[in-house]
């Protein structure tokens, strides 16, 4: 066997060994009892403490909102990394568009498509969804404009500077909302304890800062993803 074949064989054997270890590990995976106690508390008292019907949003944005701040930071880091990596070339401003049929078909239904992320973001605390889902959909809709009509059309209208400013100000707004709790005296990113309006479960305006954080996260994620798309398209000369 050639040297390359022998090296490949060694990698395959190593992979097989890791696979066996992982299969054995999950077959005897123990379930921790203390974690179930935490989840029982969130399920039983989640609605009465946060006034949010969607328990996953309550966990993500109220009980564990610091982890969501970390996730927003990771998105920011990914956008920065791609911007630095692809900074060597010029932004592509080509006129390559899709066919006439595609453009006419989408242009007629495009405004209606924006209703979905709007609904999902604003009702994030009442039904499945939230800031991330709506933000990614908004980003995909903006990328669709760039794909349909060409970057020569979409870049002057939605420049990279505007996207960066949206992302920075969303990150700052997240932190300012958290600092409101510190100013009040109850803790960073505390929701009802910091005086945000609680309301009754099921209303659109309820659950403290959950709708506000959903909107902030939606804008941040959308701006970040469109920035990544523009950076990946750089021409590289």
């Amino acid at each position: 066997m050639s040297r390359k074949g022998k090296r490949r064989q060694r990698w395959i054997v190593l992979g097989v060994l890791i696979c066996c270890a992982l299969v054995l590990g999950t077959a005897i995976l123990p379930m921790s009892v203390s974690a179930e106690r935490v989840s029982d508390h969130y399920i039983r008292y989640g609605v009465s403490e946060t006034a949010a019907l969607n328990l996953v949003s309550a966990v993500l944005l109220d009980y564990r909102s610091f982890d969501t701040l970390g996730e927003a930071t990771v998105i920011f880091a990914a956008v920065s990394a791609v911007s630095v990596l692809m900074s060597g070339g010029g932004l592509s401003r080509n006129r390559r568009t899709l066919s006439n049929l595609a453009r006419c078909a989408v242009a007629n239904i495009y405004p209606v498509l924006w209703l979905f992320p709007l609904y999902v973001i604003l009702h994030g605390h009442l039904s499945p969804g939230g800031g991330f889902h709506g933000g990614v959909t908004m980003g995909v809709l903006l990328i669709m404009i760039s794909v349909l009509y060409g970057t020569a059309f979409s870049l002057p209208k939605l420049s990279l500077t505007a996207l960066s400013y949206t992302e920075y100000s969303s990150a700052l707004a997240f932190i300012l909302v958290g600092l409101a709790g510190v100013v009040h005296g109850s803790g960073f990113l505390s929701n009802i304890g910091a005086g945000f309006f609680k309301g009754s479960p099921g209303d659109l305006v309820s659950a403290g800062f959950l709708p506000l954080l959903n909107v902030i996260i939606g804008f941040k994620v959308a701006a970040g993803l469109v920035s990544i798309y523009y950076q990946l398209l750089r021409s590289g000369d």
Partner: protein, 113 residues
Amino acid sequence: MIREMSFVAAISVFCIGLYCVLTDRNLIKICVGLSIMESSIVLLLVAIAYREGGLAPVFSAEIETYVDPVPHALALTAIVIGAGVTAVALGLSVLIYRHFGTLNIDKIWRSLG
């Protein structure tokens, strides 16, 4: 039964992704394997959260048992972070193509000397 089947499926998909990352020669296929590995771990998290007879964790007065909402929040974070990592990996692949002119890692190793 459902939980054990999901565990086995998640680890099998993880091993398939790992095999792709280890043995494939094309940089874009390696990114595909990386994305598959990340999705398999999200499946593992959601399978841990599953309770027999539980329903979706959106509050409604008639429902008695819900599935666990905490691993769902972790899974949501994991999906978004996985997309970010895949985007950076793709940026690196495009940069390597710009520099070396090829996506085949054997040729890249050879040209490095």
